[in-house]
Amino acid sequence: MIGNLDHSILQQLWWLIASVVGSLFLFLTFVQGGQTLIFTTASTEEEKSLIINAMGRKWELTFTTLVLFGGALFAAFPLFYATSFGGAYWVWMLILFTFIVQAVSYEYRKKPDNVLGARTYEIFMSINGSVGLILIGAAVGTFFTGSRFSLNLYNSVTWATPYHGLEAALNPFNLALGLFLVFLARILGAMYIVNHVDHENLVKRARKATWINLLWALPFLLTVLIGFATMDGFAVDPATGVVSLEKGKYLNNLLGMPVVLFLLLGGLGSVIYGVAATGFLGKNSGIWFGGIGTVLVGLAIFSLAGYNNTAFYPSITDLQSSLTIYNASSSKYTLTVMSYVALAVPFVLAYVAYVWKLMDAKKLSIAELTGEDADEMY
């Protein structure tokens, strides 16, 4: 059945699948947000340990989703993988470095003889939650602001600046998107603490952290939204494949795809409700509104970049080198095979949700951190 689909349908389907994985990753960055809260919301070592252990049961899911996001882009859009990773070299390398140091930090922080000391591993976590997310935001921002590259007849990439992607982090729109992601992750992290930790003082401060971080996020969110509403975008002529600059392209995309507008506004509304519910109404379920809202916002951002005849990885050096979901994708055969594989995703989500429910059925408390299994705690 899937084999009968047009190549273009499969390309659109795979942009959607990659968008879903990417959006789920954005939700799961509550782990990164939680990692930055250890220096601002926790006031004692005990509270710090509670935050780290709460996040520590989920960090691998975030990490794995990032790896799957990369794998899905490699399999479905290899020209993007080759162009962006090979071209915007330093942005990706630095992102990877922040995730490398994160991966060991949970396990090593409290272990005796860990060489670098607990504080260093906590700083690693904080760097991952701040610098890592700013750079991811900057990388995603280039979907809208473009990058300086060109492709030759064999699709080999040449980057036009010696900074190899670092220039993206200095673009105000990209930077705003990155900082928005940082504060969004902190909001989600605080919501997860409220949902999962049994500690009155910490939870009280986490509730406050949700709306304070929302206030911090607002200017960056507004910068991004104003950018979407006003910036020129990279349109593709569906008949010829020629890329051109279009005035107000992303506003046109929002108006031309009301579903995406709904996803964006509904998502932001859901996050704001999650904050209100957690920060002011005393509810513990805000993480779910925040999480669903984040996924919807993520889907809206990726849809704005890739659908409605838009170049999702535009080149500002050579417009015709810009990548679209049509010229950057894998062959029809590979996308068909991968679509069959993707049928397993709901099953994966189901067992992840089941285990999540089992493991989170009981809140994390100091008693658990100091109990029989104290040596195994992070």
């Binding site: 490398i100 140091v101 080999s156 067992y351 089992l358 493991m359």
Partner: protein, 509 residues
């Protein structure tokens, strides 16, 4: 420009070798120890004996420390294909990307989900579900090995695909040929069984240390027996799958086999070099002897390579310069064909770009006749088709010699455990402890054979490493090389220190 690109290639290769070798310090222990922990916990659940639970938790702690750095060193490998090998990513991403994505969907999520239960679920889930989770971590870890080895197997033996001149890349034609490639199957069985062996050596070696120190003796002996049984069975599989893998190499990568044995001139009744000192000055086509000293076993290489002790095994010279008598087309001749293919591809692309259909059709027709040797067209000298012989030869022989030693150690452990005198065999316990390091040497040597032995190819016969790299100044890759070297070394030191401390604390803390 060319010098600059060559330097970039060199640094990209060095970086990949560095990160892969660091990663491979941790992965085999994860693959094997996960199953050993599942065995220990199964015994605990079946017997209800708390000592087995303590044992399970002790090895789990070491597993967790190792697992974390394995994850940390692993992420860079996936993304390095894009950062340092972007031409590779485009040219074969249509095929190579799929196994990596499948690995994420089918394996990594199992590991990530059940890892949390394994470590933090003792009081949050039932005993049965905890055991199930431990098994799932073992299954998930080994499933991830399946898909990355499918990808690696395809690089060694590219099948199930075709070159598309319009997109200038290789595209998948048959997923099942890729997934069930015999090379992938051999790689998976050999790699996982050797990982089980290494993990068994680790458990036996650490337990032997406890016996030498006269600490935790009861638990140490229990661990040793379970691990020695597992390790001995794994050793048998390693030998069997190693033989199959070598046979597969002989059929599909004859140049690698010739390098593994330092065989320059093909011959019937080809010998295996049991021991030898390679002549490092030797080059393909010259008259220098291949070895300063060697001990041969006549006919054994022919037997292993073709299942016939009298058969002909081609040497490096045959494969570089050709051997008309044996109908072997050498790299020298294939370079000529490959350069025609490259020129016609360029003509085709140019004509297509200009909209000249007649010219493009003519170019495509010639290209199709020569495309089988496309990769050889990128070589500048036929001798480039030969891998570094000394590195490949020594790595192979170190791996084989050590691989032969390990089952003997496992058998001795089982024998003295049966006699009830294991704790008194100081020499054996010392040997067990030092075998941990030998196990790592053998494991790393195996990958050196596999990867150095396929040089100069990123994709065997189709894409040399020099063409696969990213068009980026060498200084960038050089900088990240040293960043990785510093970071991974620091993390390795931390890992070893933490491990040693946990071993010092022991299972009965």
């Amino acid at each position: 420009m060319e010098d600059q690109l060559l330097t970039t290639v060199d640094w990209a290769r060095a970086q990949f070798a560095l990160t892969a070798m660091y990663h491979w310090i941790f992965v085999p222990l994860t693959l094997g120890l996960s199953f050993l922990i599942a065995f220990f916990e199964s015994i605990y659940v079946k017997t209800g004996n708390e000592e087995w639970k303590k044992l399970t938790k002790f090895w789990m702690t070491l597993f967790g420390i190792n697992f974390a750095i394995g994850v940390a060193t692993g992420i860079i490998l996936e993304f390095q294909f894009g950062t340092n090998w972007s031409n590779y990513s485009w040219m074969v991403g249509d095929i190579f990307g799929a196994p990596l994505a499948i690995e994420g969907i089918f394996a990594f999520f199992i590991e990530a989900t059940f890892f949390a239960v394994m470590f933090f679920g003792w009081h949050r889930v039932s005993k049965g579900f905890h055991l199930f989770s431990t098994w799932m971590v073992a299954v998930g870890s080994n499933l991830s090995a399946v898909w990355i080895l499918v990808a690696n197997g395809w690089m060694q033996f590219p099948i199930g695909m075709n070159f598309n001149p319009d997109t200038a890349r290789f595209e998948m034609q048959n997923f099942w040929e890729v997934a069930l490639s015999p090379v992938a199957v051999h790689k998976f069985t050999h790699t996982t069984s050797s990982s089980f062996l290494l993990a068994s050596l680790f458990v036996v070696g650490i337990s032997a240390l406890f016996l030498l120190q006269e600490r935790h003796q009861k638990m140490a002996k229990r661990s040793m027996v379970v691990a020695a049984v597992f390790g001995f069975i794994a050793s048998i599989f390693v030998a069997f799958t190693g033989d199959e893998a070598a046979f597969s190499v002989a059929q599909r990568q004859p140049m690698k086999l010739a390098a593994m044995e330092g065989l320059y001139v093909g011959q019937e009744k080809a010998p295996i070099i049991a021991m030898g000192i390679i002549n490092s000055s030797k080059k393909p086509g010259d008259d220098l002897p291949a070895f300063y000293q060697e001990v041969k076993i006549p006919g054994l290489l022919s037997l292993l390579a073709n299942r016939d002790p009298n058969s002909f095994v081609p040497g490096i010279n045959d494969l570089v310069f050709g051997n008309a008598e044996r109908n072997i087309v050498g790299a020298e001749q294939r370079m000529v064909t490959g350069k025609i293919a490259l020129a016609e591809l360029a003509r085709y692309k140019y004509a297509k770009d200009k909209g000249d259909d007649t010219e493009s059709a003519a170019a495509l027709s010639i290209f199709d006749q020569h495309k089988g040797d496309l990769g050889y067209g990128y070589l500048n000298n036929p001798a480039e088709a030969a891998p570094p012989v000394a590195t490949t030869f020594y790595s192979f022989h170190i791996m084989v010699v050590l691989g032969t030693l390990f089952p003997v150690i496992f058998l001795l452990v089982l024998y003295f455990a049966y006699k009830g005198t294991l704790e008194y065999q100081r020499w054996l316990n010392l040997a067990c402890f030092f075998s941990i390091f030998l196990g790592y040497v053998a494991s790393q040597a195996g990958w050196v054979v596999a990867e150095v032995g396929r040089q100069p190819w990123a994709i065997q016969g189709l894409l040399p490493v020099g063409v696969a790299t990213t068009n980026i100044a060498a200084s960038n890759v050089q900088t990240t090389f040293f960043m990785f070297l510093t970071l991974f070394t620091a993390l390795l030191i931390a890992e070893i220190r933490i491990m040693m401390k946990q071993i010092k604390i022991g299972p009965e803390a």
